[in-house]
């Protein structure tokens, strides 16, 4: 079996644990400590930011333009509108600055 297969299987097990684990573990406690809850709330934004920030730093004007458009559309639209606008801006900008 290749490494990729093992990554997929381990990732699937890890994901299933998160989906069943909250019920199995957290339901045993009366309430979660506020600081733990605050930490849990911060997880998605903290992880996802690390995937954007270094990419922004290494990118050029076309990519920056796309990210700015994405951020602007996010004030009004949903994830799909945001993503499509950012992608359109990226494709358009790359025609000019490569």
């Amino acid at each position: 079996m290749s490494t990729t297969f093992w990554i997929i299987i381990a990732g699937a097990v890890a994901t299933y644990l998160t989906r069943v684990g909250g019920h199995l573990v957290i339901s045993r406690f009366e309430n979660i400590h506020p600081r733990v809850e605050a930490g849990l709330n911060a997880v998605p934004a903290a992880v996802l930011t690390t995937l954007v920030a270094p990419a922004v730093l290494g990118a050029g004007p076309a990519e920056w333009a796309a990210l700015i458009v994405t951020a602007l559309v996010s004030l009004r639209g949903g994830l799909m509108a945001m993503f499509l606008a950012g992608t359109a801006a990226l494709i358009l900008a790359r025609q000019f600055v490569g």
Partner: protein, 242 residues
């Protein structure tokens, strides 16, 4: 009608009620499934592997993160850990929905947790809050179409991904940062969002420049989470329920 026929027709209408609610989710997730397939191939996955990942993990953002890190030749355990980290929010959904489905047989519960995605949680929780029962048949009517379309469209995306000649002109190499930025912005109503994002961004950039990839992911994530833990609870908006 016999009692059996009545309960069967009720089960059928429950199922189709769920299917009806699943349709917007199916439509909205379709582009991401196709995109995932195309990007997976672009990052070195085979079509079968892209299909398997969608069928076994069934979590869009975590799959995107997984293939991105895989493409950067990050250590396998860190790819798995990152998938776990991105999906960690499900722990909260699980704790929430557990109260609603605790009366199901264990095998049905096990299956129910497998399809517990963001929209699945949101829609099921809304139904429970409106006072209607969250039954297994209704729940699967909602979850199954999303799952089946997700898996098929991922495989299609992977097949088409192989046919795209110039990925740079189409911007495919930079679609993931755009997608992730969209997800980050989607969480902006959460307490402490800006300080957490700022801390994670700063820490990940510094780590990227010093320690190097892939460590910037874990270091940046830990920085943001630690900040949320350390700040006094009245800033984080938890612990005081109306």
């Amino acid at each position: 009608m016999t009692a059996e026929a009545i309960s069967e027709s009720r089960a059928q209408s429950d199922f189709w009620d769920g299917v009806r609610l699943s349709m917007p989710v199916v439509v909205a997730s379709a582009p991401f499934a196709v995109l995932f397939g195309a990007l997976a191939v672009d990052n070195g996955f085979s079509v079968l592997e892209a299909f398997l990942m969608s069928a076994m993990i069934f979590g869009g953002a975590s799959q995107m993160v997984g293939i991105e890190l895989f493409g950067q030749h990050v250590a396998p355990w860190l790819v798995v850990l990152s998938i776990f980290a991105v999906n960690f929010r499900h722990v909260l959904y699980s704790a929430g929905i557990g109260r609603r489905i605790a009366h199901w047989p264990v095998l049905q519960q096990a299956l129910g947790y497998f399809v517990l995605t963001d929209p699945q949680y949101a829609i099921a929780e809304a139904r429970a809050e409106s006072g209607r029962p969250v039954g297994f048949v209704w729940y699967m009517g909602l979850g199954l179409p999303v799952y089946v379309f997700w898996v098929i469209e991922s495989a299609l995306g992977a097949v088409f991904g192989k046919l795209i000649p110039d990925t740079h002109a189409l911007g495919i190499d930079f679609l993931l940062p755009i997608y992730f930025l969209g997800l980050v912005l989607g969480f902006r109503k959460r307490p402490l969002w800006l300080p957490v994002v700022a801390a994670s961004a700063a820490a990940s950039i510094i780590a990227y420049k010093t320690v190097g990839s892939p460590w910037h992911v874990s270091i940046g994530a830990v920085a943001g989470v630690l900040l949320a833990v350390i700040l006094p609870p009245h800033h984080s908006g938890v612990g005081k329920r109306p």
